[in-house]
Subunit: 214 residues, 2 copies
Amino acid sequence: MTVARVELADVRPDPASYLGLAAYLILTLFENVGRAVAAAPTTEAKTALSSVASPLLAAHEGMVAELRARGHEPATAMDLYSADIDQFQRRTQGQDWYEIVITCYVTSGFLIDFFDALAAGLPDDLSARVTALLEVDAGEAVLVAELRAAIDANPRLASRLAMWGRRLVGDTMLVARGALAVGGQSVAEERIEPVFTELIASHTRRMDALGLTA
Amino acid sequence: MTVARVELADVRPDPASYLGLAAYLILTLFENVGRAVAAAPTTEAKTALSSVASPLLAAHEGMVAELRARGHEPATAMDLYSADIDQFQRRTQGQDWYEIVITCYVTSGFLIDFFDALAAGLPDDLSARVTALLEVDAGEAVLVAELRAAIDANPRLASRLAMWGRRLVGDTMLVARGALAVGGQSVAEERIEPVFTELIASHTRRMDALGLTA
């Protein structure tokens, strides 16, 4: 996310706001993985997906620890954003295991890229620690393998899941746009444009990896 | 679990069977925690409960690694027990957040005690590693705090949750009894009796900690 990090470097989000929003959002991404584990059609898929959960939990716990270290009550900092994120979660639940897994893949991929870019504007020491916490894409290969296997075994899934992916990216972009206002600053539209262009290019690569059109 | 470890030390469960059953069961306990996180009524409860998930995931991953190290396909080893454990999970789901959390507390507490005791009969090196993996009760204090707060805020919950706890312990004991047959050996009833006496005493202490009658 080179372009996005450069363009967003002077947004300077308020640390407590950034951490509260990111911590709650990551907890939501974790919940989605939990649902994917529970709904998995095979034991192999279940155990593979469960490995995606650990790095998300570690990232959440890291953000909570940063809030505490700065004297903020974590739940209070997160609660400012819980209603919006809960609504996002309801809209992106998915109706079956395939849609749940696509949700995990698309929303985690996009939002972790975005929060990683936005972290460029945090104070130096915090920025480095948050960036390290957000290195959670280890699970992506697992999700891709599970999804490709499902799509290969049932090609009719492809068009339904491609459509679901498009709906998801719309809702996900709204969350990212909302997060830009977290610092209280307004960000000029000409700076936002290249950021989203880059995020969407990554999204397209993610869908390509599944053999789906973005 | 001193008595249980001594009484079960000569059961000598087959390592692959033990690991397959324990790995799948712990994944199920993790799923239950995931549901408790998702259904939590407050952000504070949500983030507190999520901390219970990490040690369960680590225990599951450790068991899977042990299976792999012994040349077993983890999913195949787990699949021998998935139907029984899935049925146990369906019976113990709970209808609301309170019942889900009691399920996490009662079934994890009882079954981790039991599998820890049964690990005494595994080959020495494996036994020590499995025992270390099963040191996951760090989350218990969090669950107790959440439940006590809920019961204090709403005393009418107490009788419903006490009843739910009794039902759970019955289903949980059946899982433990089934696990005793995993080695292919039959275990004499007079050895089993003191094991369950000790497990039930621990269960009673757990319910006491909530102010509930076992």
